[in-house]
């Protein structure tokens, strides 16, 4: 039996502001006299979406901002009503949409657990039974009788998450909540959701921008774009397709947002990847040689430069940092334009979009004169390895590995 059946679901919003009472009356008058009023344009947040979810499935929903993910969730949680089409549901639903909705700042943690619990549909008896478990999970025992307004936002979210996940529902709707609290707590939340999925066999619907998370938790993923289902299939395939689409989108962005801090003594003219022929390139082949070229313009002589070139992902995970250490300490950069090159003989990065960062320190004691991130994006491609292959998971390829297998 399917838990959710979504049938030709469409949701339209009227663009523009709310109509005032005066406008409504005018429109009413116009309608009565048979005149046509100019209609505000419609925006289709969801456009003829059809799918169903079976018992025990764990489904992820991904897509860019504005693709209709949250609208879809709202429809499913019965918060909003579809313009056309239907959503049919069987069983109790626990919507973890922005946990902590309805927390009252003036109430103590204990009072809020009861309040939030009954808002989410728990009976008083159920809350009584689960209270200790909730407090225990949230790690808030010490502060449970303190008003929530004195909590830090992380503490509030911990408590809210604990209440929300204590509901025994057939279907769990999770919207971005896994990105809450400190790292240790995030881990705990993740484990709890995973436990619900793997051991309790619950049906879960997960909406997230964290594609890696979706890939890991879900066995099926739906990719939405502009209100339509673009792809619906095994998580791995859909996530990879989404990655590729993202890669193209990012590397096609002409104007890169650069973040550069400089003391003014030096100006960064250009930083790019160049091929063996010295030509600037935006696509790099995995495993081949690539050179990073940086052109600088100094307005005064700089002594003892230390160059640092780093590679990071588009979401600012630093992958590698290469510094020139003492290499050029004895040299001086006179006023003028200079070029510094770094040759990477074998690029171990797996296919995807990466970006460069650069920093220049001078003098003794060392002083930073230039620092920039996200300076130039480049796409790593590989025509031999499929992006869906397990060898493509992660960021880099480690060479020189040695396996051994002892069978006893």
């Amino acid at each position: 039996m399917s838990i959710i059946e979504v049938d030709h679901l469409t949701k339209e919003y009227r663009l523009g502001t709310l109509r005032s009472l005066k406008q409504t009356l005018l429109n009413g008058a116009a309608f009565l006299t048979g005149k046509k009023m100019p209609e505000a344009p419609l925006f289709k947040a969801l456009d003829d979406v059809t799918f169903s979810i079976e018992q025990g499935e764990v489904v992820g929903i991904i897509g860019h901002t504005g693709a209709g993910k949250s609208t879809l969730l709202k429809m499913r949680a019965k918060i909003s009503t579809p313009t056309r089409g239907t959503v049919k549901m069987n069983g109790r639903i626990a919507p973890l949409i922005e946990v902590g909705a309805g927390f009252v700042p003036d109430f103590t943690g204990r009072e809020n657990v009861y309040l939030n619990g009954s808002i989410l549909g728990l009976s008083r008896k159920e809350i009584d039974q689960k209270f200790d478990e909730i407090v225990d999970f949230s790690e808030m025992a010490e502060f449970i009788d303190t008003p929530v307004k004195r909590y830090s936002s992380g503490m509030q979210v911990k408590l809210a998450f604990a209440v929300a996940t204590s509901i025994e529902a057939e279907l769990l709707i999770v919207d971005e909540v896994l990105a809450v609290g400190d790292l240790a707590f995030q881990r705990k939340c993740f484990d709890r959701i995973e436990d619900m999925i793997k051991r309790q066999g619950k049906t879960v619907l997960l909406v997230s921008h964290n594609i890696r998370q979706v890939e890991r938790l879900c066995n099926r993923t739906i990719l939405l774009s502009r209100g339509k289902i673009v792809l619906d299939g095994p998580s791995h395939d859909v996530c990879n397709a989404f990655y590729e689409e993202n890669d193209n989108k990012i590397s096609n962005q002409k104007s890169i947002e650069r973040k550069i801090q400089s003391t003014g003594e030096v100006e960064l003219l250009e930083i790019t990847c160049v091929n063996a022929a010295g030509k600037s390139i935006s696509e790099v082949v995995y495993g081949e040689m690539v050179t990073v070229a940086v052109r600088l313009k100094t307005s005064k002589a700089l002594e003892g430069p230390i160059f640092v070139i780093g590679i990071h992902t588009t979401d600012f995970v630093y992958i590698a940092t290469i510094t020139s250490h003492q290499e050029f300490r004895g040299r001086t950069l006179p006023t003028g334009v200079h070029e510094v090159r770094l040759c990477l003989p074998q690029l171990p990065l797996l296919p995807g979009v990466y970006s460069l960062r650069f920093s220049l320190d001078i003098g003794d004691p060392i002083k930073n004169v230039l620092y920039g991130e996200s300076l130039s994006k480049f796409l790593v491609i590989n025509n031999e390895i499929q992006r869906t292959s397990p060898a493509c998971e992660g960021l880099i390829f480690l060479s020189g590995n040695q396996w051994s297998l002892d069978v006893r």
Binding site: T81, P95, A101, V104, D106, I119, G121, S123, R124
Partner: protein, 272 residues
């Protein structure tokens, strides 16, 4: 009808919790706490009593202060539950956007919350009755019925008002004005008997007198307040003739109001 009742029964715990939240929240950091609930009718009673000493209002054989307090008791309850009910949906916008449960819970809870304050006011009324040596009779058993009727009257305004308020915030602004006007056409400051005498006995407005009186009693509060005074203070049964027009109005309007609310409810989250 049954379905609505069952639905509400299913959500009874939530309503109780939300009502408890409303009350606890209102008085949490107030030093005087729940005392504030009785301050309004008591102050008004004192003001009216003072005003009466200048203009003279016939109150029969019942002392004026307690007569007007007995009028203020259902009136304040009605007025506050109606206006809290109207604001209830908008003030819970965060919940509306995030969690689904039947939205009528909000106006209903707002009214339920006021019942608690009403009960406190009953204690004051009992104290006043002791003070003036007024003993209640068997007719006091009408009180729960009258309060139930007042709740229905307040809900009639709350449902349609709360739904309209989502689309047009003018509603919340206009309501206090309308309600304070309504107070003057309700027998709060003066007893209903005066109106009745003027219109029905003396026929002051000529041939329009009877129609005017029916119009006056079309306001459910006219019947409620008068009946409340009768059963509590005058030891008389309620004046059914004064109750009927208002009761008919509520019987017609309450379902309409509720239906409008339920129709509008599905778009609350989009508009609010």
């Amino acid at each position: 009808m049954l379905r609505i009742a069952k639905n509400l029964y299913d959500y009874r715990e939530l309503m109780v919790t939300l009502a408890w939240k409303n009350i606890a929240l209102r008085y949490k950091q107030a030093y005087l706490g729940i005392v504030w609930a009785i301050l309004k009718p008591i102050t008004l009673m004192l003001i009216f009593t003072l005003v009466r000493s200048f203009i003279g209002i016939e109150s029969g054989n019942i002392p004026y202060p307690i007569l007007t307090f007995a009028a203020l008791l259902p009136w304040t309850f009605f007025q506050e539950s109606a206006s809290d009910g109207v604001g209830s949906v908008v003030s819970n916008a965060t919940l509306i956007k995030k969690i689904y449960f039947p939205r009528e819970i909000f106006p209903i809870t707002a009214v339920l919350t006021k019942v608690v304050e009403l009960i406190i006011n009953f204690v004051i009324l009992a104290g006043l009755m002791l003070w003036y040596h007024l003993m209640p009779s068997i007719y006091i058993l009408w009180v729960p019925l009258l309060i139930g009727y007042t709740i229905l009257a307040a809900l009639t305004i709350a449902f349609v008002g709360a739904a309209l308020n989502v689309y047009y915030r003018d509603m919340a602004q206009a309501l206090p004005v309308v309600l304070s006007l309504l107070m003057y056409v309700s027998p709060v400051i003066y007893p209903l008997r005066l109106v009745k005498d003027k219109l029905l006995v003396n026929q002051t407005a000529g041939e329009w007198s009877d129609t005017l009186y029916t119009l006056y009693t079309l306001n459910p509060l006219a019947g409620i307040i008068d009946s409340f005074q009768s059963v509590v203070l005058r030891n008389q049964p309620p004046d059914l003739a004064a109750l009927t027009p208002g009761a008919i109005a509520i019987a017609v309007l309450l379902p309409l109001s509720y239906l409008y609310f339920k129709r509008a409810e599905s778009y609350f989250a989009d508009v609010i």
